[in-house]
């Protein structure tokens, strides 16, 4: 039965949400391109940047997904104390502000870091984090949690009966159950992480060790902020969209299904695998992800005393923006998910491919003729953060919304429970868990994002990350570390509250 035969809800909200995304991603790109005057083409250095960008994104995404497989499998089949807490904490790197994370990574893997101090103590040579491998290390640090979540979802989606059946038949679980699941989940997870790595540049620059580690996003920054060459920036942003489009086409040829955010509490009872090997994978992942996080906490504690009063209003601002932005994200994601379809899937990937610099500049050009940009600093930040978080929210709630429509769409249509009543009485309660997860993720991502604020900033309306940068810019590195710790703590707390709130008293 075709779903379109169920006109439970109008297309208007989805059109509005889709329009916001398209305007903020492609619209801003066009606004920047139209502003181009001189415009130089792309030189050999730019193509070198494209090659480096693709290479590091490919390796980073491969390793993230590759390591996530044993980790997710271990988490899926082992029950242990604090498993839930560990899963939440393991997700933390993904929502860390880049600069905080880099400092944490350096505290572990840097020259004076824990690792090299330990190596020196037992007489081994120093390991350098800087270079291609440093960029990859940082990207794996950020994205391993995401990949693990995607895959854990896949494992838990395999019905328990099938594991019982396989165990009863003494059949190889790997080939029979896990391989087909991975074939479905891995391409989608790989695509998302590949695209995230394509558009990252702050990490690449600090850990890349030099101009070899130039990414397309860096070239866009150079073109916009330094050369003031919007034409070149637009051209580079097009290249970036092109790369993402190619990656998406390749991945979609293989599969399109993936999910994020449904319950991870369940442990699948299994009759295979070694407890020891699983334990080692979980320990390794926990150490790799939590050690830098602990260093952020450790270094930040010292700076908490030095925090200036200015930090507190900036926290209020950041949290307000995060909350508004999170609700906007979830509203847009819900509107799009209720509509569904290929076009929605494309819209859901667009923000991943967008350069936040181009988005910020384009938005500035669009808004400036009408409104004083500084007055719009916080609303604009909320809107842009909401859009940038949309892909993750959409992935989290789409499968649940589709399942709700599938199971209850006819009943609702029959009872005339349509439009807003359908959303309020059926969809929202049915998808509460992934909705809470998406809300928390969007809030946390918004907390840490500096994105577009640079052009819109108002001296008196700094967000917490901006305040942290300001502290760094005025030599106050310790206080900045303290602000970084606050940022991490608040982000995690927002995520935890929303995620938890979505799960309490869920009726299956």
């Amino acid at each position: 039965m075709a779903r379109s035969a169920l006109p439970i809800i109008t297309m208007v909200p989805a059109i509005v949400a889709g329009a916001i995304v398209v305007v903020l991603t492609l619209g801003t790109l066009i606004a920047v391109a139209l502003r181009a005057e001189v415009g130089s083409g792309l030189g050999p250095a730019d193509w070198a940047a494209v090659r480096f960008t693709v290479a590091q994104a490919f390796v980073s995404a491969s390793l993230s997904v590759g390591f996530a497989i044993p980790v997710a499998r271990a988490l899926a089949r082992r029950q242990f104390l604090w498993r839930r807490l560990l899963i939440t904490l393991l997700g933390a790197p993904f929502i860390l502000p880049v600069i905080v994370a880099v400092l944490g990574l350096l505290a572990v893997f840097g020259r004076n870091g824990v690792l090299n101090t330990a190596l020196a103590a037992i007489g081994l040579p120093e390991v350098s984090i800087y270079g291609f491998h440093g960029v990859v290390l940082a990207h794996v640090f950020f994205n391993l949690p995401l990949a693990t979540r995607f895959l854990l979802q896949g494992w838990l989606a395999i019905p328990a009966e099938r594991f019982r059946l396989a165990a009863g038949l003494n059949a190889p679980v790997g080939r029979l159950l896990e391989w087909p699941m991975l074939c479905v989940i891995v391409p989608g997870a790989f695509l998302v992480i590949f695209v995230i790595c394509l558009t990252s540049f702050a990490v690449a620059l600090t850990l890349g060790g030099g101009p070899r580690a130039t990414t397309v996003e860096l070239a866009i920054y150079e073109a916009l902020r330094f050369d003031f060459d919007p034409g070149r920036a637009a051209l580079l942003a097009c290249v970036q969209f092109g790369l993402c489009a190619i990656a998406a086409l390749v991945a979609w040829r293989v599969s399109a299904v993936d999910a994020l955010g449904t319950g991870l509490d369940r442990v699948v009872q299994r009759w295979d695998g070694s407890r020891w090997i699983d334990g080692i994978w979980i320990t390794l992942a926990a150490m790799f992800l939590l050690a830098p996080l602990s260093m952020v906490v450790f270094q930040g504690l010292a700076g908490l005393d030095d925090l200036p009063a200015e930090v507190w209003p900036s926290i209020v601002r950041s949290v307000s923006v995060a909350i508004v932005s999170a609700f906007l994200t979830v509203g847009m994601a819900l509107a799009l998910a209720l509509q569904g379809g290929r076009l929605v899937a494309v819209i859901g990937v667009l923000p991943l491919a967008a350069s936040s610099l181009v988005v910020g500049t384009g938005l500035f050009l669009m808004i400036f003729p009408f409104v004083r940009p500084a007055d719009m600093a916080l609303p604009v930040t909320a809107a842009v953060n909401a859009t940038l978080a949309l892909p993750f929210a959409l992935r989290a709630i789409s499968p649940a919304v589709a399942a709700t429509t599938e199971n209850y769409g006819r009943l609702a249509a029959q009872l005339n429970v349509t439009g807003w009543a359908w959303v309020r009485l059926v969809v929202v309660p049915r998808v509460r868990a992934p909705l809470g997860f998406a809300l928390g993720l969007a809030a946390a991502l918004s907390m840490g994002d500096l994105g577009v604020i640079a052009l819109f900033a108002d001296a008196d309306a700094a967000t917490l990350p901006l305040t942290m940068y300001r502290l760094m810019g005025s030599y106050r590195m310790e206080a900045a570390a303290g602000a970084g710790l606050l940022l991490v703590a608040i982000s995690l707390m927002l995520f935890w509250i929303c995620d938890r709130g979505g799960r309490v008293n869920v009726d299956v």
């Binding site: 039965m1 035969a5 169920l6 249509a413 009872l415 349509t418 009543a421």
Partner: protein, 236 residues
């Protein structure tokens, strides 16, 4: 009264033609699985689009109407209750799709809960009720919605024989006695034979009938004979 007026349904390789009028009382829809029994009901309810023909309810053409706007209630094989809503809310949806009920409506819901023997279960969620109790709740909502045509797409098939019989009797006592037009899919010819006034046969790309139940089982046409197989020969 429900009329399939020259209806033709086409979905890929699947075709079903129906040109028949269902009168008040209980009509059973029988036929081999995959022949299109559910599709026939889906077409009446508005979930399956027609290639041609009209659906007419009590003289009004509802072919173009949305499912919720048709004077038709339907119960499905499963997912007849929203698991996150209480029994009172689930039943209340039959009166108010947005659940904003007046005091008078609330008391009518309460009365309907009592009618199907679920007193005291109003604040519970469906998951805490037995299968039979869930079926009664769904039926209570149909009663409350009070639409002239009721379609039952094997909603009791998961119940045990005793419970199922009890539900069928409840249908008889509440819906049929109230003068509704009830169209009920069943895969058990015994059910049809025991309580249906008429029978519609869906087989070989066509819905035929309605036939008088007694007469048709006494002297089945070829298509019904093929479906019933040895059962009939044993009886005769």
């Amino acid at each position: 009264m429900l009329t399939f007026d020259g209806v033709i349904i086409a979905q890929g390789d699947f075709h079903l033609a129906a040109d028949l009028t269902i009168s008040k009382g209980l009509t059973a829809v029988i036929g081999p699985s995959g022949a299109g029994k559910s599709t026939l009901l889906g077409a009446a309810a508005g979930f399956v689009s027609l290639k041609s023909g009209r659906i007419v309810c009590d003289a009004s053409d509802v072919t173009a109407a949305q499912p919720g706007a048709r004077p038709i209630s339907m119960l499905f094989q499963d997912h007849n209750l929203f698991p996150h809503l209480t029994i009172t809310q689930n039943i209340g949806l039959g009166l108010r799709p947005n659940l904003r009920m007046t005091a008078e409506e609330t008391s009518r819901v309460k009365a309907a809960i009592g009618d199907v023997g679920l007193d005291g279960f109003g604040d519970r969620k469906p998951g805490t009720l037995s299968g039979g109790q869930q079926s009664r709740a769904a039926l209570a909502r149909v009663l409350l919605a009070d639409r002239p045509v009721v379609l039952l797409d094997e909603p009791f098939s998961a119940l045990g024989p005793a419970l199922k019989d009890e539900m069928l009797r409840l249908v008889q006592r509440t819906l049929v006695d109230a003068g509704k037009t009830v169209l009920m899919v069943t895969h058990d010819p015994d059910d049809a034979e025991s309580i249906a006034d008429h029978v519609v046969l869906v087989a070989e790309g066509a819905a035929t009938g309605p036939f008088d139940t007694e007469a048709v089982f006494a002297n089945p046409p070829a298509a019904l004979m093929a479906y019933l197989g040895t059962r009939v020969s044993r009886r005769s």
